[in-house]
């Protein structure tokens, strides 16, 4: 089993290379090839749950160390399952671009990078995969080659590269203290070492990965990049990239290698609360549908970091569960906005209206997504936000709980705005001949909407199987390195 782990990175990588030579093939061939490949990876990742006993590690030493524990497994499932739905959707959406094989090549290379970041146990390899994924993400944002796309990609590129430089500098400093780039060994040696240098490294890491995760005050790139990118890419950026490259890497290194100290936790909590409020407030003011969702992503990243930074088991559970839920509901919402834009040619809420008469299915899935992200029972977002708020009360900080509740109200207001202006109200004359989206898009929207409801109803099952192993891995803290070194 351990020897099969590299496949999770290799399959998307090989598919990406193969796609580059597929320019002559028909679109149908490319689509089916992409679908089969992503289906294989996603089912393999899910199948690993059946063969991996609870809370055990899978380690592979083929070339480089790959480690699969509860946390990496959670993020891996999110990334690959969401990518599956996005590919299903993209078979219809990416049709409007001439060179589809390049879209798939970049997408799969990005997925290979993301899977590599999640699985690797070596800091330098993590950085390399992070750069691969980030470079593909920049290129995908500019994929439409429109003015807005190129401007957003440049902005994303410059901020992202400054983040990468900060991260690389931090890894270099870790190497200078410990003499190793292996995460587990570095964690072991970092238990000692000068506290000043360690604080400096942590500052570099929080700013670097904070930029990748779009945490306030490093969020400036996110609204532009998510708005200008093609819809499948926006969904992937918001659902997977900011989580895998930003939150996962930050949590892995801060919690498992350095160990979360109270001052660091306080800084993270502060940034998270400001993110929740700023993201929520700015979202309400937007008229561009995707831009509104992008600002809301900043707010939701705030929730995830807030839960995690509390450091209590319930807080970590809430944060990770919200990470899981947010990937699916924001993926659904971005794909939904893509459908609206594709069918009407506009994402400006002032120009839309009454779409639910002509596109009932799109309106229905959008409503489910909006209710989920606003935290209305029985949808999945309700439970994760509830856990985070209860965890805030549990640590005795009512202000945090109040901020989280207020942020939830802001989110609800923002998404009610989408419902009111886009889907309800009077249908405009120019939209008389509007049709529903193609079947492939609707399959993807419907399944994601169903997932939001199903996870909400069966939340205890999901927590037991998927979230709890990850909570154990995060709460284990610096015990991580002992656990892994014990296996050598």
């Amino acid at each position: 089993m351990n020897q099969l782990l590299p496949l999770i990175i290799l399959i998307p990588f090989v598919v990406a290379i193969a796609m580059l030579f597929g320019g002559k093939l028909s679109k149908l061939t490319l689509d089916s090839f992409a679908l089969i490949a992503i289906l294989a990876v996603a089912s393999f990742v899910k199948w690993l749950y059946l063969v991996r006993p609870f809370n055990t590690l899978l380690i592979s030493h083929l070339g480089t160390t790959l480690i699969l524990d509860g946390l990496s497994h959670l993020i891996l499932v999110i990334a690959n399952v969401l990518a599956l739905f996005i590919i299903i959707y993209a078979t219809a959406y990416a049709g409007k671009y001439a060179n589809k094989e390049r879209f798939y090549a970049l997408f799969f290379m990005m997925l290979a990078g993301v899977n590599g970041v999640i699985l690797t146990g070596n800091l330098l390899v993590l950085f390399i995969f992070l750069e691969i994924a980030a470079l593909c993400a920049y290129a995908l944002v500019a994929f439409g080659e429109e003015k807005a796309g190129i401007e957003a990609a440049l902005k994303y590129f410059l901020i992202g590269e400054v983040a990468s430089i900060a991260i690389l500098l931090a890894f270099g400093l870790i190497y200078s203290i410990t003499g190793t780039l292996n995460m587990a060994e570095a964690g072991h040696y970092l238990l000692t070492g000068s506290p000043q240098l360690k604080s400096f490294i942590i500052v570099l890491l929080i700013s670097g990965f904070g930029m990748k995760a779009a945490l306030f005050p490093f969020h400036a790139w996110l609204p532009d990049a998510h708005t200008a990118a093609p819809a499948p890419v926006s969904a992937m950026l918001s659902g997977v990239i900011i989580k895998a490259l930003g939150i996962y890497a930050l949590v892995r290194i801060l919690f498992n290698i350095f160990g979360l100290t109270p001052p660091v936790a306080m800084v993270l909590t502060g940034l998270a609360v400001v993110s929740i409020l700023i993201g929520g407030l700015l979202a309400i003011g937007q008229w561009d549908m995707k831009r509104l969702m992008a600002y809301s992503s900043i707010s939701q990243v705030g929730y995830i970091i807030l839960g995690l930074s509390l450091g209590t088991p319930l807080g970590i559970l809430g944060g990770l569960f919200h990470l899981f839920n947010h990937a699916f509901m924001k993926g659904l919402l971005f794909l939904n906005a893509g459908v609206v834009e594709r069918q009407t040619g506009s994402r400006d809420l002032r120009e839309l209206g009454g779409l639910k008469e002509k596109m009932p299915f799109t309106a229905f899935t959008s409503l489910i997504g909006s209710l989920s992200i606003s935290g209305v029972p029985p949808f999945n977002g309700f439970w994760s936000k509830l856990f985070i708020i209860v965890a805030c009360v549990q640590v005795g900080n009512l202000w945090l709980a109040a901020a989280a509740v207020f942020g939830s109200i802001l989110t609800m207001a923002a998404f009610l705005k989408i419902q009111k202006y886009a889907f309800f109200g009077q249908l405009k004359n120019k939209y008389k001949d509007l049709k529903e989206a193609p079947l492939a898009m609707n399959i993807s929207l419907g399944t994601l909407a169903l997932a939001c409801l199903a996870v909400g109803l069966a939340f205890s099952l999901v927590i037991g199987f998927v979230i709890n192993p990850a909570v154990v891995a995060v709460a284990n803290g610096v015990g991580y390195s002992r656990m892994i070194l014990g296996r050598f």
Binding site: L135, A142, K147, A148, E151, F157, E161, G172, T227
Partner: protein, 88 residues
């Protein structure tokens, strides 16, 4: 703190200045490259032996150059204060 670390630090700061203070995309490009070289020199000074980050730097420079060329084609210049397609 010996000479091996002073030069990378200087390069980092010079690059950061170029990145933050300049308005022309080409100047920003060189700011980023100088910063990257600073970090790479820092890693070499620390005794990091693997060359992977240096080849990544090439990919980064290539993609950024491509984006800048595309931007100058679409917008007609390379001044970032003129790139105002996105608002809000």
């Amino acid at each position: 703190m010996n000479i091996n670390f002073i030069l990378p630090t200087l390069l980092l700061l010079v690059g950061l200045y170029g990145l933050v203070a300049k308005k022309d995309l080409v100047q920003i490009f060189f700011g980023l490259i100088v910063m990257e070289i600073g970090v790479e020199m820092f890693l070499v000074a620390l005794g990091e032996k693997e060359g992977a980050t240096i080849s990544l730097g090439l990919a980064v420079a290539g993609l950024l150059a491509l984006l800048i060329v595309k931007a100058s084609e679409k917008f007609g210049n390379t001044d970032i204060s003129k790139l105002r397609e996105l608002k809000g």
